[in-house]
Symmetry: C2
Subunit: 355 residues, 2 copies
């Protein structure tokens, strides 16, 4: 097991390992980690190593990885969400050559879990499916994202900035807090959607005389195959999917890198918004100690925070947060959130067995 | 005919006038004015006074007024838009005890008419319905709104701020320009929707620690019957109709009047946005002469610009515009836009017959 796995990729080595050993496994020796999002749901199956001997390996011995559609009950309803979760778990076990009896613990980290009632509802769906010794944990999807950076420790802060944006923090003593994540109408201006919507607005303002000229006009009209700014209105309202609009972020970054001041200001505003959502969470939870100088991990997740070369949004966010909280330790996860969920289950189980 | 009519109301006097004289009218002696919006369509029928003897009367001799649904072809499609327009014209004539042969001119001032092709399409719908001597005029709905304040003169600027916002300007020599009016995704922050969305955002920011506390929280949660700011997210996305969100403007104004700084800042920003949309149009069209000091009418239309007592958004907008353009002459229309459309037809006809 010396090969490294990035983002849950399954190596040939592991396939062989899985095929060769699964038949002989004892009951109660795997863990399922589920990252349930609004776009897709991923389930991974990992062998359970005894908690006392647990040293997180460089290489995770992934037995199976399965993907399916949305499992956010707010988006698709309870029945569809439940069926999707059942399906990915069954497939992950089947691919591993196992059945339900092999499961030791499951962490379901699901988008749309915001209240204890959401948590309880999902627990109720699955409690009877598994023997009572199987541990079930239900968390928000932010928990898996954080754990993917902290290798299973539910402590610190995670900033997710893709189509939407949210900051989520957890303390060692079980408190949690979130900021932003309320969608575009409620002002998630740091998100990919927010950046792109402001770029489109800047084009309209340049066109009608309310704002300065900008390279965004040519760049985005060309990207969209439109011939004038007037046509942008029809394009925008023809399909208001947030992801479609958020997909324009690379064009905004390219214009900022080419020295366009309007694009640069939009990215600067986005940086301030993202940093503010993190500092609000850090402040409320006291994540950096009473003197504000304690260190805390900040896991960075999502397309907006991934490697831009010239204009590094993620690095600017870190610089901005550092001014208030010099102890911030940024982490770019090396594994995907579903692995984070499995590692959470692993750690919960360890804590549970140590008590 | 001494009674005054406000906003197109029909007095008993006029009903009698209509009933007593319509049967005896000569062919070619009425004008139809149509204000076609996204929410509703209004058609008024007025008697035609000979252009050379035209002095706009204090009292408009309204023969009929008819209302129907949407006639914006972008919203309901061409067939439905056309049928609605045919229906209101037929009903207005029928109520006046007349038929198509009585029509001298029609002005259709329709939302969604943005290009010469839109204009031509609507002309084509109706050209064959009427004898060739009947004059047909098609304009954007902003033209009727302007004319409702200038009593039929298509010259100056109109600012419309209701659910959405737009500034539209027309010059004596036939040029026109618009600013804003691109909807919420494209940043109409001065509109009723814009004001309310920013108020909702401010509540979320106060709740998650990103912004200062504000009276908006209690005021708006109470208005909506919600018990916590968390519930606002569900409320907002359950029904994203722009008008439903814009309906919160009175609560924002009340908080600003009660001294809330957050609400006050939102209204100040709205004022700047609305003023900027007007000054952009004035600048582009040169509406105030080469020295910037010439006078021009600014017709103020829509719920956001109607009488607030303590916090007068409309007056603040005028003050803001006056700094750049001291010649601005604000007008609050005394008649509705459909009457404005009829007056436009009247004036077009006068110009046409004088040539």
């Amino acid at each position: 097991m010396t090969k490294k796995h990035r983002n849950g990729e399954i190596s040939e080595f592991d396939r062989e390992l899985s095929a060769g050993t699964a038949g002989g496994r004892a009951v109660g020796d795997v863990i399922l980690g589920i990252d349930g999002g609004t776009t897709s749901t991923t389930c991974v199956c990992l062998p359970f190593l005894h908690p006392h001997s647990l040293h997180l390996p460089d290489s995770l011995p992934l037995l199976a990885r399965v993907e399916a559609g949305c499992s956010n009950h707010n988006s698709v309803g309870e029945t569809a969400a439940r069926e999707t979760l059942e399906q990915v778990m069954a497939e992950a076990l089947s691919k591993s050559g196992l059945d339900l009896s092999a499961v030791r613990a499951i962490c379901l980290s699901i988008s749309g879990v915001n209240h204890p009632t959401d948590q309880q509802r999902i627990l109720n769906w699955f409690r009877d499916k598994f023997p009572s010794h199987v541990k079930l944990y239900v968390r928000n999807d932010a928990a898996a994202a954080l754990a993917s950076g902290t290798m299973g420790k539910l402590s610190g802060c995670v900033l997710i900035a893709g189509t939407g944006s949210i900051a989520y923090g957890f303390t060692d003593d079980g408190r949690e807090a979130r900021a932003a994540g309320a969608g575009p109408i409620l002002g998630d201006w740091g998100s990919g959607y927010g950046i792109s919507a402001q770029a489109l607005t800047a084009i309209i303002r340049a066109h009608d005389g309310r704002g300065p000229q900008t390279k965004l006009t040519n760049s985005i009209l060309q990207t969209l195959g439109l011939s004038s700014a007037d046509e942008l209105i029809g394009w925008t309202y023809a399909d208001q999917s947030w992801a479609r609009i958020a997909a324009l972020v690379p064009a905004v970054v390219a214009c900022a890198e080419a020295g366009d001041e309007v694009a640069n200001n939009i990215l600067q505003d986005s940086v301030k918004e993202l940093a503010l959502s993190v500092t609000a969470v850090v402040q409320r939870l006291g994540l950096c100690g009473s003197d504000g100088k304690g260190s805390f991990p900040l896991v960075m997740v999502g397309g907006v925070l991934e490697g831009n070369k010239g204009w590094g949004i993620a690095q600017e966010v870190i610089n901005c947060i550092s001014k208030d909280y010099p102890g911030v330790v940024p982490i770019w996860p090396k594994v995907e959130p579903a692995i984070g969920a499995a590692l959470l289950a692993w750690n919960f189980l360890k804590d549970c067995e140590q008590e």
